[in-house]
């Protein structure tokens, strides 16, 4: 297993007041994303547990792209990966952010 953590500063907090949400399932080619509104409003932390090692650079790029697009300030995001492709990861992260905005 490989554990990765990425910390970002955002320009603004994620809108909405939902305290936590989860989306996706740990299955082959899929992942689960747990989002919790527990950080300062300009901070976002994404931590990943993945059985597929050696792709830290790809994860870093996908997470940076998500943070730039969603501005998920205040969120601690925890991922259990089942070997998802980068596009699936992007989709789940955006789904999760949308659930938190509800």
């Amino acid at each position: 297993m490989e554990s990765l953590t990425f910390r970002h500063t955002t320009r603004k907090p994620l809108p909405g007041a939902v305290q936590s949400a989860i989306t996706g399932v740990v299955a082959s080619g899929n992942l689960e994303v747990l989002l919790e509104r527990v950080l300062p409003p300009d901070a976002c932390e994404v931590s990943i547990e993945t059985p597929v090692t050696g792709y830290a650079a790809v994860w870093e790029a996908v997470v940076a792209d998500f943070v730039a697009r969603a501005q998920p300030g205040g969120l601690r995001i925890s991922i259990n990966d089942g070997g998802a492709r980068p596009d699936t990861v992007s989709l789940r992260l955006l789904q999760g952010a949308r659930l938190m905005e509800a």
Binding site: S20, V25, V26, N80
Partner: protein, 306 residues
């Protein structure tokens, strides 16, 4: 924590996740989860095998209301490790069942979606199966119905099939399957001539929802929608059998009669013919309405034996 709103009339039980099933099955907004994902009660064993964990260990448990009545609900996630029972997964189900003895809800609903015991934590999983069956027996003896709903992609296999056998009532859909040894297990042990696991039609004829309903192994046949399973659950709660010596002796007698009557059959279609189904070959393609009419005419479909 519930996912985006979904129409239970249209939501496929088979396609839905465990969380979506629970949210759409219960009265809107009534579900409260115990030990939810933010508590991170995860498997202590999977990291030893370099395998990913799930924040809920593949099972969602909690309380809700169904038509205003309090129920406890457990839903297995069939896509996480085949919905298999590990130590935490099993403990969450057993804890819920034991809590029901104190809470005395109108029913406990178990949304099965499991291949059985998780091989990486097999001892804990096997123990959980036994403890769950004991807890269900205690609950039924106390007069709390335990209803199993089966229509997920993993079916109810292995120990999950055993637990299903101890429930008060079962509802199953076309996609649902109930058995103990799965198709691949039988083929591995007895050969493809005995059971060809790649023959999908054979698998569903032998273990699928329609067959289980016709021989009385399941008490309701539901369309593959959350709304149909909700209607089936409400109906089955209202007609749960007593759990007493007379019921158990009747079940034993019916099981003995079943093996005497059908023990020499080579295929489920032979069993359906002996049950009095006019056109057994047509059963797999029947619509739910046509199938319900057929099942209503079959006497064995209406007894309590699994």
């Amino acid at each position: 924590m519930s996912p985006a709103s979904t129409d239970p009339q249209a939501l496929s039980w088979y396609e839905a996740s465990a969380r979506q099933r629970v949210a759409a099955l219960a009265d809107p907004g009534s579900f409260r989860e115990f030990l939810g994902p933010t508590e991170r009660v995860t498997s202590p064993h999977l990291p030893l095998f370099d395998l990913p964990r799930a924040f809920d260990d593949g099972i969602v448990v909690g309380r809700a209301t169904l038509d205003g009545k309090p129920v406890l609900v457990a839903a297995q996630e069939g896509r996480f490790m085949g919905g298999a029972f590990g130590e935490v997964h099993g403990a969450k189900l057993i804890g819920l069942l034991r809590a029901a003895l104190d809470v005395r809800p109108a029913a406990v609903l178990i949304l099965f979606d499991t291949g059985g015991v998780r091989l990486q934590e097999a001892n804990a999983g096997e123990t959980a199966i036994a403890e769950a069956m004991r807890a269900i027996a205690d609950l039924r003896a106390a007069g709390v119905p335990v209803i199993g709903l089966i229509g997920g992609r993993a079916g109810a296999y292995g120990g999950g099939g055993l637990i299903a056998g101890t429930c008060s009532r079962l509802a199953v859909s076309e996609g649902g399957r109930i058995s103990v040894s799965g198709p691949e297990v039988i083929e591995t042990n007895k050969g493809a001539e005995e059971f060809d696991s790649r023959d999908r039609a054979l698998v569903w004829r032998t273990m699928g929802g329609k067959h289980r309903r016709l021989i009385g192994g399941a008490d309701a046949f539901a369309d593959d929608t959350v709304a149909a399973f909700r209607a089936a659950a409400l109906d089955l709660i209202a007609r749960a059998p007593a759990f007493d010596l007379a019921t158990l002796e009747a079940e034993q007698a019916r099981l003995e009669a079943r093996i005497a009557r059908f023990g020499d059959c080579r295929d489920a279609t032979e069993i359906w013919a002996r049950l009095g189904v006019n056109d057994p070959e047509a059963v797999p393609a029947m619509t739910t309405a046509a199938f319900d009419e057929t099942a209503a005419r079959v006497e064995e479909a209406h007894h309590d034996a699994r």
